[in-house]
Symmetry: C2
């Protein structure tokens, strides 16, 4: 089952009081950002984006019931994990209810009438600038200007209308702000995907997915990580991702984030997690949902 269907189903059941009210979805970026595109895929065109301005405020908007869901990027196939969001998953108590994977296609975007040769400055998120070095290398003497958000850089260019500047963002961002795409597919590597998560408040929903995300901290003793991972290997549970993150305030101690290829309500997974908790100082089930 795909993310969109799953979330749509969960939203309809148990939310009848809301009736025809649009689902509110907190996103960090502006309209036309990749987060916005992911939220449309999860919740459809009838959903209402809430521009939170940061990842932290996206989490808070859901916790404070200003939004029903948050949609956050968690990992890019080239740049790696978005660590800020791993930290926020551990700190907040939202639940992962769905995931999706979006192909990232960057475009060079400018105001109508501005040509490729006129561009002397390119605005975008640092990660996007980093992913378009071949194009930027060909544009002799061009200045790379870091911006907080890809779509935000298009919004900025659309407001300021400089004749010598362009932005790098999605084709969707160009459409939203009435800007012109000078070049499509300007990313160095087309195998560029970002995995997004949909988050909700805990609500006693059934965990019927085939994938489970957890975070845990271990006692500091030799071989303890191996013992922790053995609880899954002993039960033939596949780990699809492992990530270690420093624990704030205790330098060089780590939290581990694991994605498991099994639903949290299966007996094997429940046994494995019970076994794991014999070894952990800290444990949290982040969610169980359908793998894309």
């Amino acid at each position: 089952m795909r993310g969109k269907d799953m979330v749509a189903k969960k939203t309809s059941s148990g939310a009848r009081a809301q009736a025809a009210k649009a689902v509110k979805v907190a996103i960090q970026g502006e309209l036309g950002s990749f987060s916005h595109q992911a939220s449309l895929r999860f919740f459809g065109a009838g959903s209402e984006p809430v521009h939170a301005g940061s990842f932290e405020r996206s989490f808070e908007a859901v916790a404070r019931k200003e939004a029903d869901y948050a949609v956050i990027p968690i990992e890019n196939s080239l740049a790696g994990s978005i660590h800020k969001n791993f930290d926020l998953l551990a700190r907040h108590s939202l639940e992962i209810v769905a995931e999706t994977s979006l192909r990232i296609e960057h475009c060079l975007i400018a105001a109508p009438g501005v040509s490729f040769r006129q561009v002397k400055r390119v605005y975008s998120h640092p990660v996007a600038l980093e992913q378009c070095t071949k194009l930027l290398g060909r544009m002799k003497g061009v200045e790379r200007v870091p911006f907080y958000d890809t779509a935000g850089s298009v919004k900025f260019v659309s407001e300021q209308r400089p004749r010598d500047a362009a932005a790098i963002a999605s084709v969707k961002a160009a459409t939203v702000y009435g800007m012109n795409v000078i070049k499509h597919g300007v990313e160095d590597d087309p195998e560029n995907y970002t995995r997004f998560l949909a988050l909700a408040r805990h609500g006693g929903r059934r965990r019927d997915g085939d994938k489970t995300s957890i975070v845990f901290g271990l006692r500091n003793e030799p071989g303890v990580l191996f013992k922790a991972l053995s609880v899954f290997a002993l039960r033939d549970i596949d780990m699809t991702k492992i990530e270690s993150r420093p624990i704030r305030g205790t330098p060089w101690e780590y939290l581990f984030y694991l994605d498991l290829g099994i639903g949290a309500s299966s007996p094997e997974c429940r046994n494995a997690l019970r076994h794991l908790r014999e070894l952990t100082l800290y444990f949290k089930l982040l969610g169980s949902y359908s793998a894309v």
Copy 2:
């Protein structure tokens, strides 16, 4: 044995031809950057910094013999791993010869005569801005301007001399550029450390450290990561760090970086690595050096 002593010893032996010539050390940042401080700790005040401008060019400077060593940050206790440098370690063939850990103390720095109340813009590296949110939150209406390097932001302020701007960087950067420290210790969390590595060309040096760093890629089959880690657990070898990074061009497949609490020349480690290579598609020994 501390990083400085170790590197100093290695430099003196086998480099007698260089005689009194200063050791050249490639760093990404400007003079006064934290990388510069780490390089002074490794190689002493007699070493000569080579400003490479980027991490990639730091690696290249050593490969092309324009520098003897490169000093790069690899991990921050709050922000986590510096992924770019993990990728560069896998791609290039330099060897890790030493590590050190630096306490990161940020200062608010401006031109002499500029007071705290006058500051309306603060320049620094995005990670440093993120680590000083308590201070910046108290400075109402202040604009946060991302810069490529902390020390570079002080250099910029020293050249432009704006009356309404400050930079966030080390006290060392203030000294180097003749600027004034308005506030010391402006980081939110004092448990802020960065681990730096010293890199050299492969040169048949003896691997006599008590710590080993490796990178490997695994066949895509269930339980293979567990089997890979078992080669260390079976021999009571401690893993001090594990990190997974996506492989460019193959979305959602990973390279694993491991730090082991044992020297690469010990029989247990050699046996474990031979065992590991039965399971890997790709394997590289990044270095063996003294743990700090």
